[in-house]
Symmetry: C2
Subunit: 335 residues, 2 copies
DNA sequence: TTGTAGGCGTTATCAC
DNA sequence: GTGATAACGCCTACAA
């Protein structure tokens, strides 16, 4: 059942059917009714591929993320999909894992599917070594690229991100002011946001002329159990910290488990601040104080920027959002 | 840059270019090299829409789920996407929410995008009132439908699901045998799997000729905080339970919070079994005993069934997978 | 207001 | 092995 069949049964030309299909004004009410009735009868629905071929778009946006089962990325994907759909766009999901070659490969696949744009969710797509970001610049020459929680300065690349540096600096500052002096920063990777968070930790110290030892920073990507064990060793042998800031809530759960194993009372002996304001932060006991990086807002903004870009409007290439600290039980009352 | 341009530069016909593109044997090594070289030079990539139009497929599978930010569904979506991609298919994600009209609408949208099949992740798509499932039967007349954790007997509908009834019956049985006699079943909704889990709870009792009171079953869809409060009331006024089985881990977290507020020791005064074996089960303290419904296996199986269907092979319409109980700290050692 | 005809970039079916 | 050519189903000038 195609546009020709409909036009025949309705006794009009295909052009008229097409006009009705696309809500064109210049069709008499009579003809329109006639055509609509036939479409209804035949339960006709236009062929999206043919339309795509002619218009060179299927109103589809690719979403690239390392792992959509990760709580944080899952939320991002959800918000993005919802918002895209509001604008009539579909979301083609593509999970790359954390390997650079895979990321390149999947970005290539999305391009070959002729998506209208690509949203890269999560800070893992911007590599520390700039030459490894060439694949992004290359892709951006074909379709707009939106980085969620990442940044790269290049034509066609837009970013929507949280000011992680300021957020961690703020949390660090509050610890220092409140008298906690043995701070540990625990982060998962040297990703763009990992580095930015670390920078915040360092800057808050240097602002107060406090030297940061290497033992105060741990970059570790492990399970909750592994984090616990790593910290047991670290606490006993290297650095007996009394406050921890982590780059995600799951790491903070690892700290919680460590504290229990080490017999430390929270927040008295050890204060903890997580990151992301994810659901696991209220599943544990005590519940986690955490930094909320306004993911939903950030996602909605990313989509809004994208829509403007697709409309050919000029938009700022980078938007920075301010995080908020959510106070719960893993920090002192007076914190 | 299209197939005509390539054919011109290579001095061959478009048919030959197409053959090279599709790995057709009947091209001399010479010509093939020539064409490939030109493609390389021009960094040509075929137009997916045109291909879609001709072949009437873009190798895309729609994934429908209520809410991809939900931990369980997020995992399902992830496993499905990974497995689909292994077979060269893309995943078009579509989150419907829990409203029937929205589900219908989005299913319609996916159909109009001409996906090759649709996977419905989560048990919320099969309604209790059978007339409300007509939309599924209708869709199944156009493309294959795969239900993940749901079941509906109709042509073109295939299901891959866990034996929830047996799983809950087993857990209930173990409680009864171990001497726990005041069991509560806490579930979130009357969805297909909700009803099946409840059936397991009931059957285990009736097998031992034990009457189940209404106060032993709570259907409640609330936040962790709300669950806690609801249980405080229920425990004090209706039924002082000493063991709880929940239909998902988050409900179990709510029970944990309740126990703490009520001053009950776990597992001594109150034993808890969750469902889904999700990450929050190891974030809490004590960690949750939970029923693992083999989601990854189930997803992979669903995709495998789908691939067979798309290949025109005959496959069983329904596959039932056996769950496994993961013992942790919220149940007795001897459980 | 309506109709005609050409184009979008492939794949597939024929001939040769 | 290779090349012409007809689909595939829609959109959109341009004509009427």
């Amino acid at each position: 059942m195609n546009i020709y069949d409909i036009s025949k049964k309705a006794g009009v030309s295909i052009a008229t059917v097409s006009r009705v299909l696309n809500g064109n004004e210049k069709v008499s009410a009579n003809t329109r009714q006639k055509v609509l009735r036939v479409m209804e009868e035949e339960s006709y629905s236009p062929n999206a591929f043919a339309r795509g071929l002619g218009l060179n778009t299927m109103k589809t946006i690719g979403i690239l993320c390392a792992d959509s089962s990760d709580a944080y990325l899952a939320s991002a994907v959800y918000y993005l999909e919802q918002e895209l759909r509001r604008f009539g766009y579909d979301a083609l999901l593509c999970c790359t894992g954390y390997d650079l070659d895979q990321k390149k490969k999947y970005l290539e696949i999305l391009l070959s599917k002729r998506v209208d744009a690509i949203i890269l969710a999560g800070s893992t797509f911007v590599e520390q070594a700039d030459k490894n970001n060439e694949y992004l610049r290359f892709a951006a020459r074909k379709v707009p690229l939106i980085l969620l929680n990442g940044h790269l300065d290049a034509p066609g690349i837009y970013s929507s991100l949280c000011d992680d540096t300021a957020a961690v600096a703020g949390a660090t500052e509050r610890f220092l002011v409140s008298g906690r002096n043995k701070l540990l920063f625990l982060y998962r990777s040297q990703s763009y946001s990992g580095r930015r968070k670390l920078a915040g930790f360092l800057s808050a110290h240097s602002k107060r002329n406090i030297q940061v030892e290497n033992s105060q920073m741990i970059c570790f990507n492990g399970s909750i159990q592994e984090i616990k064990e790593r910290l047991l060793t670290h606490y006993a042998n290297c650095f007996p910290f009394n406050a921890v800031i982590t780059s995600d809530d799951e790491l903070a759960i690892g700290v919680l488990k460590f504290a229990k194993a080490a017999g430390l009372s929270i927040p008295r002996d050890l204060s903890i601040i997580g990151y992301n304001n994810s659901k696991i932060g209220i599943c544990c006991d005590p519940e986690l104080t955490t930094i909320d990086n306004k993911l939903e807002f950030s996602c909605n903004h990313a989509v809004s920027v994208l829509m403007s870009v697709l409309d050919g409007k000029k938009v700022p290439a980078k938007t920075v959002i301010t995080a908020e600290i959510i106070l719960r039980q893993s920090t002192d009352d007076h914190f």
